[in-house]
Every structure is written in structure tokens, then in C-alpha cells.
Symmetry: C2
Subunit: 341 residues, 2 copies
């Protein structure tokens, strides 16, 4: 650990793909906690596709990052100097410290973690926002019934991997779509999906390969990517299909609107497309807590982490995330995790 | 009445817009009812946009019409020769006799009408399929809350007119979109909508004119038309907007898929688009029967009929319907309605 607070600031707004020049890496003094606050060092930083939206000027669904401010993000931190009655030195918390190695907090929104219960980093993946996203979208919007076919794009990712495993636990055929043989092999052999289509290898045969993997059509399409995958999937929806619309990562860097499917396809199939953002539903996660942590503990839901070391490497890792270069939940290890020694 | 059965058959499948050459008008013998059947003369024939889909070869959501068969359609008929124990001569029924002046039925799907309760033709508009479509889409999918803004396209039509009036009855701001000043005046002055945008006059200002009519954004968009209206409305959806997707009349004649909105617009707003077809829900219309007929009787829901005389004029009227030429529910009067004398 350095004796300064290393922070990644938003320097300029990307036009299209973000580049390293959009970020500023600065060293600042380590802040002092006031009365009722604590100082924490960041252990884990989560990198997620939604951050692309926060870099934009255009109105998104949450407050965007101001130029010169640190990038926002979910973190696991360890309290190192507490002047807050609810937190003591050594406590681990899941919070939103952003892209910086130290932060001061009044505790709002911070959740204490029990390092005995699960690895700390899981609070940023399967037991945190991505896991809740998967559960909410699949169970509350997708409403899968045993015997139905669930297709999920970005299937090896933090959200998609949980979607497919939950679908299997509920008796569905789970079909992933992912980029590259390695990811597809992982999705089928490690996670237990019934099939996985490699959209990069498929090229112009994407529609046919999805059809072969989902021969009875698609009842639930969990949408993470948009673009060419969306165009190939939507015509294969079954009557009364549900489409939890979670993300459109292939379109986040696009400067212009890009066309979606002809709504005649949705009308004829009486399909439902529902955009959702998990933070709207954090207060209603009883079902998630009941179902997912025990399944993780029992090994029925597996997860994979893609770890980058050092906060100074966050920009490049994030740029890669938008291109699908990560394999598993992308995390930055900002400082030592004493529970992993 | 002629002494033969005048029938309109599907002669060929339209490529793009239907033309009179796609139809064959033939005279056939009046059929004889067998035991357990009745012969009825068609009084009213309903012309509806969905019929365009039935003319196509491509798989739609219901069985398409075979070449050489009569066009399908909802009708009000009078029994003139019954050999069915449940129907007697003189009874009026709502049935699906199609585009012909006489039909024989075994009574399946026929509903007896009480001519004292409402005009017979209302069974084909506000008290029939179009009214149920409006009610189901608005109330079950749109779920309007008092104070919200409901926008409906094809606002002067059989469905749209009921949508807006129901929205008003539920305390919403009702904004119509229709083609031409006459229709817009009717929607506002007769039906009591708060505003109506004339999409034909608006041209390139359509987005702005809709914004002016719905200054707080759009909570429910009842979609009947697609195309340019859809493109102008979707970016104005509010957070958690609901879109009952009922029809896309502007696209029915298109041979190619046409692009829909970028799904980023749905994601950011957490909007829900739900395609629906009323016939899936006929068994679940208790709420409709409770709400709509009394409102019609009390004059709180008004309706307008656009009547064409003679079944031989049905093809031209139907072609005009797809271009928005009708003004109100389009009906063909096939034979005398004794209750209207």
C-alpha cells in the first residue's frame, strides 16, 4: 500500500469507445475521517458495464460522473480508522467507494460482511449486484417454467452465468451465448448449461446455431448484449416469451441510436420486453437471499472471477470489459485481502 | 337481399398493399342447415386491421385464410332457419360468419344478442372485440394510475377511442394521435381527450407536438400504428412506462422487417413493451363486462361507426382502413338491421 490515495478520475467523456486518455490517475492525500465517519482502504473494486453510462453526458438512469470526480463503483473495503460507532477497525464492508484506494464514509449504504460466510469478493459478484441482477431479471421478469428454454447472452459473465445456472435449477433448458470457445466450454462443462453458441465463430450462421441449440424456440431471453445477437434471437421467441432487458453492452459505445427489432415480431408472439435496473429492487430481494447464497454454498451455483491487480490498471480492464475480454466477474484487487492469505 | 349467397373470397395474397384484385366476389347458392345447425343472414360485418395478417402466407398469430376461401371476420347475423335447439328464427347472434351474406353454423362460438340492451352493431365495436382490446391492453397491461399520461395512436378508431375515454375515467391525461384535423377535433371535443396530435399535419415536428401535448412525458403508450409515430413516442416514455402493443397498422403492408426503437431507450426507462392479442383473453373479461357496458349506457364512453353498405364494397373499405381512411369503427352493413328501422 502506498501512503497516498490513488484515485482514477473521469478526465473527459468518451466519444464511442473509452480510451485511457478519458481517465486521470492521481495521488491524493489519504483523507481523515471526521466524527461519525470511518476511513477504509479499498480491497476489491467491481468493474461493471453500467459504468459506461455514468461516463456519458447524456441522461442515463443514474447520476453521471462529473468531470474531475472519481469513477463510481461497488467495492469491498476494510475499515482502518473508525470514528463511527457502528464500525470498528478491521471490519469489512461492501460499499460504493469508487475507483480509489482509500475512502471516508459516514456508513450510509455500507453493508458489513462476514468473511466466514463467503469470500469477500463474492459480495461484488454472485452474492452482490450481479447475482441480484440475474435473480431479479430471471425470476421476477423471466418467470421461467420447468421445461422452457432460457437463452442468455454474455453467458460466462457475472450476470449471465448465474442466469443459466438458476434456469437449470428451475428445470429449464439453459442456452448460453458467449464469445469464444473457451468461454463456451466453461459455460457448458463447468456451469452445466445445456448448450452454448459462440457468436464470434458463428458469423452469419448465428441464427441457425441458436436454433440448433434451442430447437423448441426461446421462452425467456435474458438480454445482456443487444446488436447482432439480439437480432438473431428475437425472431426465435416463442409465443408469450419474456425478455428481461438487463444490458446492451455491444451498443454502449455507439454514438447513434441503433435500430431494434421490428415490433411485429413482439406482437405476433405476444412477447414482453421489460427493461430493468437492479438498484430499483434492492429492497425486494428476500427471494434472492433465500435462494442464491445457499445454492452457492452448496456448489449448485458456481462463479468465476477475473482479477486485475492494482487500481491503476482499472481503466484498461474496463475498456476490455466493454469488448468482452474478461472471462468471469471482472474485479480489481486494490489492496491485500487478508482473508485470502 | 338477393336470393344467393354473396361471398368475398381471397383470390391471391397481397404483395404490400392489398388491391381489389386480391379478392373475388362470387354468388353461391344459399346453404341449407343440417340437423343441429342454423342458417343466418349476415347483418353487420366488422372490418379490422388484423385481417391483413390473415391474408398473408407468412405465419401470423392465427390460421391464415386459404386461397379461394371466404375472408374471415366478426359478424352480427340473424337466424332465419334454425334446426338447432338453442337458436330460433329471428334470434340475433354475434358470430364469425366472415365476408358473406349467408352462413350456416352449428352455434359454436356464437353469442346471442339482446337488441334491447344495445344496438346490434355495438357487439362489433365498443361492446365487442375492439372494446375488449382497448380494455385489456389499457387496464391489464397499461395499468394506468390517476395523474399519469396515456398516449394512444389511431385515437379516433374503434380501439383507440375507447382507450382514451377509459384513461380519462381513470383520472389520466389522455393524449390521442390521429390523422387529420377532423379526427383530432372529434377526439378532443366529442370524446373528451385532453389533446390530440395530427400526425399528418405535424410532419417533422411530430416529436415536438407530442411533447407539447404530453409535457410530463408518457407513462402508457397504447400502440396501434408503429412507424414514424412509434419512433416519436418511444424516446418520450417516462421511467417505468408501459406499452401495450396492440397493433402496427402502418407496417402491415410492409414486405420487409422495419426497425424498431433502440432498446437502450427501453432499458434506461425500465419500460415494458407487451404484445397482446385479445382473443387470448376472451375468457378473462369479467372486468370489461363490469366496467364498459355501463359506461357506454351512461354515455361516459362514446363510439362512432363508419358504415359502408353492401358486402361487395368490403374490399375497398378494407383497403381504405389500412390507410386510415375510415373515421370510427368500420362496419359493412350486409343486410337490413330491423332494430334500426
Amino acid at each position: 500500500m502506498s501512503a497516498s490515495n490513488r484515485r482514477v478520475l473521469l478526465k473527459s467523456r468518451p466519444q464511442g469507445e473509452p480510451t485511457p486518455a478519458n481517465f486521470d490517475i492521481v495521488e491524493a492525500p489519504i483523507p481523515e475521517p471526521g466524527e461519525g465517519e470511518y476511513l477504509a482502504r479499498t480491497v476489491w473494486l467491481s468493474l461493471d458495464p453500467y459504468m459506461r453510462g455514468r461516463m456519458a453526458e447524456a441522461k442515463g438512469y443514474a447520476a453521471n460522473v462529473n468531470l474531475g470526480d472519481p469513477m463510481v463503483g461497488g467495492t469491498v473495503s476494510q475499515v482502518i480508522k473508525s470514528r463511527h460507532p457502528g464500525f470498528k477497525d478491521g471490519d469489512f464492508v461492501a460499499d460504493y467507494a469508487g475507483w480509489q484506494s482509500y475512502s471516508v464514509s459516514n456508513g450510509a449504504g455500507a453493508i458489513k460482511l462476514d468473511p466466514q460466510a463467503a469470500p469477500l469478493s463474492a459480495a461484488l459478484s454472485v452474492l452482490g449486484m450481479p447475482g441480484m441482477t440475474a435473480w431479479w431479471g430471471l425470476m421476477q421478469i423471466g418467470k421461467p417454467k420447468a421445461g422452457e428454454t432460457v437463452v442468455v447472452s454474455a453467458a460466462s459473465g457475472a450476470v449471465g452465468s448465474v442466469v443459466g445456472q438458476l434456469a437449470k435449477l428451475h428445470g429449464c433448458r439453459a442456452v448460453g451465448i458467449a464469445g469464444g470457445k473457451e468461454k463456451c466450454d466453461y459455460v457448458v462443462k463447468e456451469l452445466g448449461f445445456d448448450a452454448c453458441v459462440d457468436y464470434r465463430a458463428a458469423g452469419g450462421n448465428l441464427f441457425k446455431e441458436i436454433r440448433a441449440a434451442a430447437p423448441k424456440g426461446i421462452d425467456v431471453y435474458f438480454e445482456n448484449v443487444g446488436g447482432a445477437v439480439q437480432a438473431a434471437v428475437v425472431p426465435q421467441l416463442n409465443d408469450f416469451a419474456r425478455v428481461p432487458l438487463c444490458g446492451l453492452i455491444s451498443q454502449y459505445n455507439e454514438m447513434q441510436m441503433s435500430p431494434g427489432p421490428d415490433w411485429r415480431l413482439l406482437l405476433i408472439k405476444r412477447a414482453t420486453v421489460t427493461g430493468f435496473i437492479v438498484s430499483d429492487h434492492f429492497a425486494d430481494m428476500a427471494g434472492f437471499w433465500k435462494e442464491v447464497p445457499p445454492a452457492v454454498k452448496a456448489g449448485r451455483i458456481k462463479y468465476r472471477e477475473d482479477i486485475v491487480n492494482g487500481i491503476e490498471n482499472a481503466p484498461e480492464a474496463f475498456i476490455g470489459l466493454l469488448k468482452g475480454r474478461n472471462f468471469g466477474k471482472l474485479l480489481v484487487q486494490v489492496s491485500d485481502d487478508p482473508t485470502r492469505r
